[in-house]
Amino acid sequence: MSDVQKLFKERVDRITTTIKIEEPDRVPITSMFETWAGHYSGYSVADVAFNYDKLVDSFCKIAEDFEVDTLPPPLGVRCGRIYTALGSNDFSFFNKEGVSHASVQHVECENIMSVEEYPELIKDPYKFIIEKQLPRRFKALDQAPDKKAEALGKAAFLYQDYFANAVGRLGGILEEKYGVPCLFKGSTEMPMDALMDFFRGFKGVSLDIRRNKDQVLEACEALRPLMLRRAVQNAPTGPFPFIFIPLHIATYLKPKDFETFYFPSFKKLIESLIDLDMTPALFMEGNWEPYYDYINELPKKKVVGLIEHGDFKKAKDTIGKTITLFGGMPIEVINNSTKEEAVTYAKKLIDDLAPGGGYIFGCDKSLLAPNDINPENLKAVFKTVKEYGVYK
């Protein structure tokens, strides 16, 4: 076994031990590096969204300079070629003058589906997506059947090319050259988040839970098999890499509405993934403290949660025996403190969150825009965690 292969195995072992909520050799380190990876290498968002060599180069530089234990695949950068070929109405990478955005921009998919269309979505959501949702979001799919077929053919070609020459190639290089395993092997959304994000919008769903309660519940149940299939199809079984699941609307719901509308399909989807020997990694956007009792209803030691807000010590004490905690290092502290202050904060996090295992060190937010993180302070913090986060 080569040194790189040994390093790869050490990292995989470190993470798989951690998520069993047992103590590995030391606290694993990573963060949600997205378009910031490109900025760090001097590339614009448009560069890394369209040029796969630059995309691969920028993520390799993160692996080399930050020596993280694992890296997310570059899906957060999104494939500019597909969105552009299809004429996306809601995602953009550059402005009308061709100047790249600082991060990928998107507008909310409000009223993509009218309230009257719930029965159609519930009856056959996959058909609804192909026939109604996609043409309303992509101009190239809102044409006569022959033109639509041509656009779908182009998209299919670009999709295969993207996964082979961007995502797959990068994963291979990270493993073989740097010994860095991929953090996620798939992703999905919770049914109610998908309903909000891609069909009804925030305002629509907020009204629907008052006026169309049964249809919201039925739509979540109808979307659940698609969202499960999206997560696991063609993925190898095994607890690591994880399945990435960003959670969006949950913390905007009152706990009672959360219990009624969000939790049933949320819990079922998580249980289905665990039954398939997968580890759901929840990106818990917002403050989840009011919902910790529900988190404790999930299967123990089978789920990872990236916590964005709240008291992390309280999270460790309350849900730390159920899920592995990920994150905790505020990007504001890294950016607005001296190196020494940031390091001191990181040590306190290790003191609070590392005992007993079940903690992956990382920033509390995804890294997108050029000024999202001070790289020198981040390197100092990671170096400290590698030394201070050793289990003895």
Partner: protein
């Protein structure tokens, strides 16, 4: 082991059985033909889900 799920219940989610019904000359195809058909169907599904719900 790669996860394989049962067919999705949808008018537009193709299955080998529906495909044979439309193309009876393929009834005695080797198993590789069926697997290849299902793989391309699953790849197409993945692309549709990527552009519609990601």
């Amino acid at each position: 082991m790669i996860v394989k799920l049962p067919a999705l219940e949808s008018e537009l989610f193709d299955t080998w059985e529906k495909h044979i019904e439309a193309n009876p000359e393929l009834t005695n195809s080797p198993v590789e033909a069926k697997e290849s058909f299902e793989q391309s169907r699953d790849d197409f599904f993945s692309m549709i889900m990527l552009i519609s719900t990601f």
